[in-house]
C-alpha cells in the first residue's frame, strides 16, 4: 500500500537527484529535503533497473546460470561468476586445480584495478575535474587490454567454469602481461599521489560524509566504505578461498579518517596491492591443466545448499544456491554490496550540503545494476514512472 505524502516543514525544499542525471551513471532517485543548503531528510527510490535475474536463474540449468550471473554487473562480472561457480563447486564437492585458482585470482584482481580506477575517475568527474577523469580513463585502457589478453574480452570476461577457467595463458602472454602491469603500476602510483596532494580534491573530499565504525557495522555497510572507517573486514581474509591464502603480498588496507577522502585512498591502495598480487600470480603460476573439458561436466546435481562470499571491488558479495536434485537450481539468492551500501547508507547524507551529496554518493561506489536484479521477466516494464514517498532518514541514527 502506498504511503501518502507527508506535510513538510514549510522552509524545506525538495530536490530530486535522478533518475536521469549527469552525475549518476545509472538511474536511481534520491530525494533530498533541504533547508537552505543543508540536507535534512533523504529518500532513496530504486526499481528502475529491474531485470528479474533470481527468478530467471530458476529456469536455466546450472551452467547457463554462470553466464547469467556474470551479467548482473558489468564491472564486477568475474567476481559474480566466481562466487556462483564456487557455490556450485561446493555442492558438487569439486576442487579446481591450483593453476586454475591462480588464474581466477589474476582475473579478479585485474578487475579490481580497473573498477577502482573507474570509480576514482568518476569521482574526479563529479567534482568537475574533467582532465583528471580523462587521463585516468586513458590509462585504464591498459588494464582492459590486460583483461583481453587473459580472458578474451575487455569487459564481460566469461572466464569462470565449474572445475577451472575457460582458457589458459602461455609464456608470450605472460611476458606481455608483466610489461603491461609495470606500466599500469607507474600510472596508478602517480594518480594516488595526485589524490593525496591536490588541493581541489582535498577541499571537496576531506571531512565530507564522515561515518563512525559503529554506524557502519550496524547498518551493514561493506567494502571500502567500511575499511575507510577503521572496520577491518575483507572477505579475502575472512573466508580464505581460491589462491588468496598463498599470496603473501595481500594486505588488508584500512584507514581511520572515515570520510570520503579516506574511502577513495583505500581504493587506490587496494589497486596497488592488486597489481602486486597479479605480478606474484604471474611469476608463480603452478604447472598443470587449468581448463576443464566442458563436455564432460556432470549433468546430475546432488541436493544441497551452499553459501559463498567474495570480495567484489565494491564490497562483500554473497551467493546462496539451493539445489534439490534437478538440473536447475531451486533458489539462487544474490546479495550485492551496492544493495547494502546505497539503500542503508542514505543516513550519511543528512547534515551535508547539497554539493557534497554527489561526492558522498560516488564514494559509496554505487553500482545500480548490481543492486536490482530480482524477479519479473516482463520486457515492457523497464522503468517506473510513478514514485511513492518513503521516510528513510528519520530512523534513529547515532550521531
Amino acid at each position: 500500500m502506498a504511503r501518502t505524502k507527508i506535510v513538510e516543514v514549510p522552509m524545506a525544499l525538495e530536490i530530486p537527484v535522478g533518475p536521469q542525471h549527469p552525475a549518476l551513471h545509472e538511474p536511481l532517485l534520491i530525494k533530498l529535503y533541504v533547508e537552505g543548503e543543508v540536507v535534512t531528510k533523504v529518500e532513496v527510490n530504486t526499481g528502475y533497473n529491474h531485470r528479474g535475474i533470481e527468478k530467471l536463474c530458476e529456469r536455466n540449468n546450472f551452467y547457463r546460470n554462470i553466464f547469467l550471473c556474470g551479467r548482473v554487473c558489468g564491472i564486477c562480472n568475474t567476481v559474480h561468476a566466481n562466487c556462483y561457480v564456487r557455490a556450485v563447486e561446493a555442492i558438487l564437492d569439486v576442487d579446481p586445480p591450483p593453476r586454475a585458482k591462480y588464474l581466477r585470482v589474476l582475473a579478479m584482481e585485474l578487475e579490481r584495478v580497473h573498477s577502482h580506477m573507474l570509480i576514482n575517475a568518476v569521482m574526479a568527474e563529479v567534482l568537475g575535474y574533467d582532465t583528471l577523469f580523462m587521463t585516468i580513463m586513458r590509462d585504464r585502457e591498459a588494464v582492459m587490454k590486460a583483461k583481453e589478453i587473459v580472458t578474451g574480452a575487455r569487459v564481460l570476461a566469461d572466464y569462470m567454469m565449474v572445475g577451472g577457467v575457460r582458457r589458459d595463458i602461455d609464456e608470450v602472454k605472460k611476458d606481455r602481461l608483466l610489461k603491461l602491469l609495470d606500466k599500469i603500476e607507474e600510472r596508478v602510483r602517480y594518480y594516488r599521489k595526485v589524490f593525496e596532494d591536490d588541493p581541489t580534491i582535498f577541499k571537496r573530499l576531506v571531512d565530507v560524509g564522515r561515518l563512525s565504525p559503529a554506524d557502519i557495522v550496524s547498518h551493514s555497510l561493506v567494502g571500502p566504505v567500511a575499511r575507510g572507517s577503521d572496520v577491518g573486514t575483507d572477505v579475502r581474509f575472512e573466508d580464505p578461498h581460491e589462491a588468496y591464502p598463498e599470496i603473501p603480498v595481500m594486505k588488508l588496507i584500512k584507514r581511520d579518517e572515515g570520510d570520503s577522502w579516506a574511502r577513495m585512498m583505500v581504493r587506490w591502495d587496494e589497486a596497488l596491492v592488486s597489481i602486486e598480487a597479479s605480478r606474484y600470480v604471474l611469476q608463480h603460476l603452478p604447472q598443470g591443466n587449468a581448463v576443464p573439458d566442458e563436455r564432460k561436466l556432470p549433468r546430475r546435481f546432488p541436493p544441497g545448499e551452499a553459501f559463498t562470499r567474495a570480495e567484489a571491488p565494491r564490497g562483500e558479495l554473497t551467493y546462496y544456491v539451493l539445489s534439490d536434485g534437478k538440473p536447475t537450481p531451486y533458489r539462487v539468492k544474490i546479495r550485492t554490496p551496492s544493495f547494502n551500501n546505497i539503500i542503508n547508507g542514505a543516513f550519511a547524507f543528512v547534515g551535508a550540503c547539497i554539493a557534497d551529496v554527489p561526492a558522498i554518493l560516488v564514494s559509496f561506489d554505487p553500482c545500480i545494476s548490481c543492486m536490482e536484479r530480482v524477479v519479473v521477466v516482463d520486457p515492457e516494464t523497464g522503468s517506473k514512472r510513478k514514485l511513492s514517498l518513503r521516510e528513510l532518514a528519520t530512523r534513529g541514527v547515532s550521531r
Binding site: H50, E54, E238, D239
Partner: protein, 150 residues
C-alpha cells in the same frame, strides 16, 4: 550435530538443531519469534561493532507449507558466518522486524516483503513497488513465490 564456537554458546538455549552447511557455516534452527532476542543478546555479549546481517534469504517451500527464512549473521571477531534458520507458515507469513536492533536489515526486509510477501512487524517502511515494477505490484502478487508465473 556441529559444535558452536564458545562465544556463540548462548545460541544453545534457543536452537532446536545445529548443523553445518557448505562452506563451513554453522546453522542453528530457531523459532522465528526468538530471533530479535537472540540478536540482542549476541550484540550485548560481542559488542556493537562485531555483528551485522550479511544476507536474509527467503525460500518458498510449498511442499512443506512454509517460507524458510535464513538470517546470515557475520560475526567479525570470529570471522565466521552464523545462520539462524526459521520458518513462517505460507498462508500467514509474519515475522518480527529487527529494524530497531540492527538498522542494516532495512534493505533486506523491504526486499523480502516485496518479493516473497513476508510481513515484518515493526518495520514501518515496508511497501510494494520497492523493487518490483508497479504493474506487477498492482496485481498483488509476490513474484518470487513458486506458484507465480511472470
Amino acid at each position: 550435530m556441529a559444535e558452536l564456537p564458545e562465544k556463540l554458546g548462548l545460541l544453545k538455549k534457543y536452537a532446536k538443531k545445529v548443523y553445518e552447511i557448505k562452506v563451513s557455516r554453522i546453522v542453528a534452527e530457531v523459532e522465528v519469534g526468538d530471533i530479535p532476542r537472540i540478536v540482542e543478546e549476541l550484540i550485548k555479549s560481542l559488542g556493537k561493532e562485531s555483528l551485522y546481517l550479511t544476507t536474509l534469504v527467503a525460500t518458498d517451500l510449498p511442499e512443506q507449507g512454509i517460507i524458510r527464512l535464513d538470517y546470515f549473521l557475520s560475526v567479525l571477531p570470529e570471522k565466521k558466518v552464523v545462520v539462524l534458520r526459521a520458518a513462517v507458515p505460507r498462508e500467514d507469513p509474519r515475522a518480527p522486524s529487527l529494524l530497531n536492533i540492527l538498522p542494516g536489515v532495512f534493505s533486506a526486509e523491504c526486499e523480502v516483503y516485496d518479493l516473497m510477501g513476508v510481513v515484518f512487524e515493526g518495520n514501518p517502511h515496508l511497501r510494494r513497488g520497492f523493487f518490483v515494477p508497479v504493474e506487477v505490484a498492482e496485481k498483488g502478487i509476490h513474484p518470487l513465490k513458486k506458484d507465480v508465473k511472470v
